[in-house]
């Protein structure tokens, strides 16, 4: 167990001297109770491994929802300096641009009333998990290339799917520059081309919620959220296309490590210098997959609006607006401390503070919206980025509650039928075809999201704006 010292109220550090191959410290934002949970798995060892990457600067950072992953821990941030610092596909993850989109429906929970069941049912019907071969939208050839290059704006132009007003309220306007469809393999295209508009399984979901509590009236007003309002949270990513891009890239970089004289404590950290052909190939493919993921969430949002139209009418569908869309698995070139770095966010969310020009004008006084899903059946939070993120965490905050229990342990603690009963008793309508899948995502398998959010707030990374209580869940 590595020696860890407390830096301040919410920050802990494993010094670089703790291991000969660490280039920078490993730091964790946590409170004492969360830290105890973090120390119970391999998260910290994995964070130390990240601190060995060539070109890593300042520290390998972990958010309070960190848990053991493969290579990089989930809930980590690492920045490497151009030109010869490395990029590591594992630092983004297989689900490139897995992220969260929040929609606000122009009704309160009271107004929705008994139509809740129908709404959840219609959403489940129109936004499938993706088991089987085809999703809502099949893209091939030149059409797929355009979506890979341009994201949801291309999907809107080509197929009329999505809403133009959503683009401004999407991180990076739903399009990473530098996307190169030529870097996306045929296998990735075959895996993902028919999956647009599908949610995926595992911890992906669509959740119908009500705004239960507002912490920051001004920010909530700017975001269009008021107490009692119905919201819909979509958690999904780049599906098989992104998974294959990462698989292809890890394999390519693994084969090239010796050529660059790179030795790693974990093969899954496979990487290449940012100036190398392998890195440029990955960044081109990653950007394409990220754009595909934003198009996917746009297609799912379109399905949600169709469900709203079916149950609540055309006017309600027309007035359903996107609050924002954030990525929590992505690598971006950004500037901190006067230098350009590649920020790897794996299970971590960008959280730019008020005044940042990348935030939509309507939100610039409030700060960038951040969405922190809790576990199924527990609250999610809307946060706003704060200046501390730029000073302490490369403009980043947490992404969710983080697992604290394996799927096997979760399944052993409760049966699917009982969990459904408990959720329904708590007022949560559940649509999930698999009892097994449901129990693996049980609320107790995750850390307490309140505790995670409190730490990031006290650390100055982001601040609470609103709390969202689930009233319906659609899972794959």
């Amino acid at each position: 167990m590595p020696q860890i010292r407390q830096v301040d109220e919410t920050l802990w550090e494993i010094p670089a001297s703790e291991r000969a191959d660490m280039r920078v410290p490993a730091r964790v934002f946590a409170d004492p109770e969360l830290l105890e949970a973090i120390r119970s798995d391999r998260s910290l060892e994995q964070l130390q491994n990240v601190a060995t990457l060539p070109g890593v600067v300042e520290a390998a950072l972990a958010m309070p929802d960190i848990h053991q992953g493969y290579g990089f821990p989930v809930g980590g941030v690492a920045s490497t300096e151009l030109p010869d610092g490395v990029v590591s596909p594992g630092g983004v993850g297989y689900d490139i641009n897995c992220g969260v989109r929040l929609l606000a429906v122009p009704l309160t929970a009271a107004e929705l009333g008994s139509r809740k069941e129908s709404l959840v049912h219609e959403i489940a019907r129109r936004a499938p998990s993706g088991a089987g071969r085809e999703g809502r939208v099949r893209l091939r050839g030149a059409e797929l290339d355009r979506v890979l290059r341009e994201g949801p704006s291309a999907l809107l132009e080509l197929r009329g799917i999505g809403a133009s007003q959503d683009l401004e309220r999407t991180e990076s306007l739903g399009r990473l520059e530098g996307a190169d469809p030529r870097c996306v393999s045929q296998r990735a295209r075959e895996r993902g081309g028919g999956q647009l508009g599908t949610v995926g399984s595992g911890n992906h979901f669509i959740e119908v919620q009500r705004v239960e509590r507002v912490f920051d009236e001004a920010a909530a007003r700017a975001y269009g959220l008021e107490s009692g309002r119905i919201t819909v949270l979509i958690h999904s990513g780049s599906r098989g296309l992104g998974h294959q891009v990462c698989t292809d890239s890890v394999k390519r970089m693994d084969a090239a490590l010796a050529r660059y004289g790179i030795e790693l404590p974990d093969r899954q950290l496979a990487c290449a210098p940012l100036s190398s052909p392998e890195a440029r190939h990955y960044l081109g493919a990653m950007a394409a997959a990220a754009n595909f993921a934003w198009a996917n969430r746009a297609a799912i949002a379109d399905a949600v609006r169709e469900a709203v139209r079916a149950v609540l009418g055309a006017e309600a569908a027309r007035a359903t607006r996107q609050v924002y869309d954030v990525a929590h698995n992505v690598a971006k070139l950004e500037r901190y401390g006067g230098r350009e770095v590649c920020v790897h966010r794996k299970g971590a969310t960008r959280a730019f503070p008020p005044g940042n020009p990348e935030i939509p004008a309507a939100y610039r006084d409030a700060g960038q919206p951040v969405f922190i899903p809790g576990s199924m059946g527990t609250s999610s939070f809307v946060l706003a980025g704060r200046p501390g993120s730029m000073e302490r965490s490369f403009g980043t905050t947490c992404h969710g509650a983080g697992r604290r229990m394996s799927r096997t342990q979760a399944r052993k603690r409760i049966r699917g039928a009982e969990l459904r009963r408990q959720l329904e008793a708590d007022g949560v309508t559940v649509r999930c075809p698999s009892n097994r899948g449901l129990t693996e995502e049980a609320p107790f398998a995750y850390k307490e999201v309140d505790a995670v959010v409190e730490v990031v707030e006290r650390a100055g990374l982001a601040a609470r704006v609103a709390q969202l209580r689930p009233i319906g869940v659609v899972k794959g």
Binding site: G90, S129, R133, C246, R436, G476
Partner: protein
Amino acid sequence: MKIVDVYRWVDHTGELELEIEASSQRAVFEQAVAALGELLAERTEVDGGGAMASFEVTVSAPDRATLLAELLSELLYLVEDQGLIPERAERLDLSEESLEATVSGRLSTPPHLVKAVTYHRLEMTEEDETWRARVVLDV
């Protein structure tokens, strides 16, 4: 003592770790096919049993552990593209850096549960006439 070919899933906070113990290299790959099939079959509602199908698989890699990862990756593609729930390797030919197999199973609508096969803790080694392998799947 006869070595029994077995696989087991190991608790992992966020991912799935597969451990295999077998009497031969070939048996390691056969167990991997069966393990993936069991993982998916448990989570699939197979309506009417599902039609049986076979697919030819060819993969290559510079070492045995990576070859195991490549086989599972290839099967993941067939799961998503064909709806295959693999059951067994009817034929499996190993050479120094490649593997050819005929994998059979049922066609259905398996969940897209496994995103990828990782290189994290990837291992395939022999000791005392027993082959052991470990592979972590991203789910």
